[in-house]
Subunit: 191 residues, 4 copies
């Protein structure tokens, strides 16, 4: 089974997710700069979520690029990932409207955690399909960054109840860590 | 006529459908866990509908994969299917807001029934185009799962007026039955 | 310049247009069948617009299929068509909420008229690029159906102020006329 | 790394952006022509933004057409561009609702300025990847139109506080300047 349509569908879903989040930024009724003030936290949460979806699209691109073929299990592992990512607009809106309060920030972290786990499952599903000695398995390697992210989310979630901004700093830190494209896979393929 | 654009358009529509449903999950105004409570039934109906769209995308993918070419009739049979699927966000929102009441649950089942019928028509249209002895016809076979689904929806709809949760159990059962990818087609193609 | 991305972008825009229209069908707050009643005119206008977008996608598909290459003028002629089509959700919502009143029905017809004109311009732009003796020009022929549609819209718009339902009948009649796929182009290509 | 998926994802995002803007044009509750009046400035801002997204899609198409391959830096430069473009629906809605007031018009110009800068960065990233003597670098040339646009936006933004319509005229002028497709790249490729 070819991977082309899996990529196309994922691109479509990610493109819609990344764009509909902006619908939460309602245009203010006033026209002064002060009227933009309530939009600022929504903008910041939008920016963070945009970067996260961008990271997932980027990693997804790299992962599928190293993939030879897909099967039914891959498709559902992929849909599972898209499911958690599709909840990001909801939790982004909640964060933005409530100025980074404990529960919204914790739930945001929980969605990121589940997306991280779903991505991990997707890589495992693909490795099972291609074999432990495939280029793909080799390219994914130990997936250190993926594991670190999941640990950091798990630490950040309870911290949201101590101080929401500490958890937020964790999310931003994970995003920065991922912003560097997955050179492992890129490197291995180009060899 | 090539099938590429039919797939691309269907992917686009399904990607938008699956993602805009999440817009119904309005972020709560409060920040406590209790504020999330009214979102729970909306979340559950979103989850069920996400799985259903995922199933249709998956089956559509398998079906088109076995397809050699398409014609005008196929295009309209496909648009007919997309029409009923495009109503899922509406009925999902109605279910979610009214906590699985009789009429919303019955209408939800009706939309699923019509989508099932539309999918059946699409398979028949493709078989007519490819011939009864084609790989496609062979691969689709008797389409037992499709027929069972339609029967189960037809039973579930009146049951929604007895007890909405009984109908809901039927919808969930059908989804679980379909979650297993269509191994018939997959198997036949790989021979 | 290749036509692939023009098709992909058009597919994306048409997929979003056809799907976001359904967002106008707000789920009712009550749960009785009577609560669905105000949704009926919105549903009917959605159905008509869905069919129209389907027709345009279908014809666009046939037209681009016969096309060898595109240039800058084609791109803007195509965007011009997409612009008018993108206004269909707005006018569909207006019709649906106001139960087929004069001005909404007239404006709906005006948008259809402009989309028809834009499609006509697109065909002319493509013929100018491919030459009057190309397969494309030959396949489009005199574009009788396109011209008839424009005339029928132009007649229907003033009739909306006499009786909105008469204009609506015209729109439905044009849709039915187009539902038959463009066999001229299909036929010429298959020769 | 192939450019196919970068194009597909960008097409998806641009298709969604260009289409969801129309959701801001809420259908009026009345049915007279006068009820359409408050929609007029929203329509005009929609038209301007539609043209801008169309220009970016067009230029993006030309740019990527001349591109041989992409890397991680390109992907993020591209996402950076899409980020600023994704804010256009927000600022379009703000302009439309406030009838071209100073701050909304200035912020609109700021988003255009940032999108212009992001496009400039994208071209530089691609030139660094392909080399100063590549067809791509040659085709982009000095990117005079890009630089002029950025200067014009920078002039227009402060002018929005003198007279919003003067700034608006600048934005329209830049759009008209770009409406002519990038013949430099087109020309160079066809040689």
């Amino acid at each position: 089974m070819s991977k082309g349509r899996l990529e196309a569908f994922s691109d479509g879903v990610l493109a819609v997710i990344i764009t509909i989040m902006v619908l939460e930024m309602k245009s203010p009724h006033g026209t002064s700069l002060a009227d933009l003030k309530p939009v600022v936290p929504i903008f910041l949460s939008y920016l963070l979520s945009f970067v996260y979806i961008g990271i997932y699209w980027n990693n997804h691109h790299h992962l599928l690029h190293a993939t030879q073929h897909v099967n039914g299990a891959t498709m559902w592992a992929n849909l599972h990932l898209l499911f958690w990512l599709s909840l990001i607009p909801f939790t982004t809106a909640w964060i933005g409207e409530n100025h980074f309060d404990s529960w919204p920030v914790a739930i945001y972290g929980f969605i990121l955690l589940m997306a991280g786990v779903a991505y991990f499952i997707l890589t495992k599903t693909l490795i099972r399909l291609h074999g432990e000695r495939s280029t793909l398995a080799d390219a994914i390697g130990s997936d250190r960054k993926g594991k670190i992210s999941i640990v950091l989310y798990a630490i950040a979630i309870p911290l949201a109840f101590v101080q929401p901004w500490i958890a937020s700093v964790f999310y931003i830190a994970v995003a920065i860590m991922w912003l560097v494209p997955d050179r492992r896979i890129e490197g291995k393929i180009q060899e």
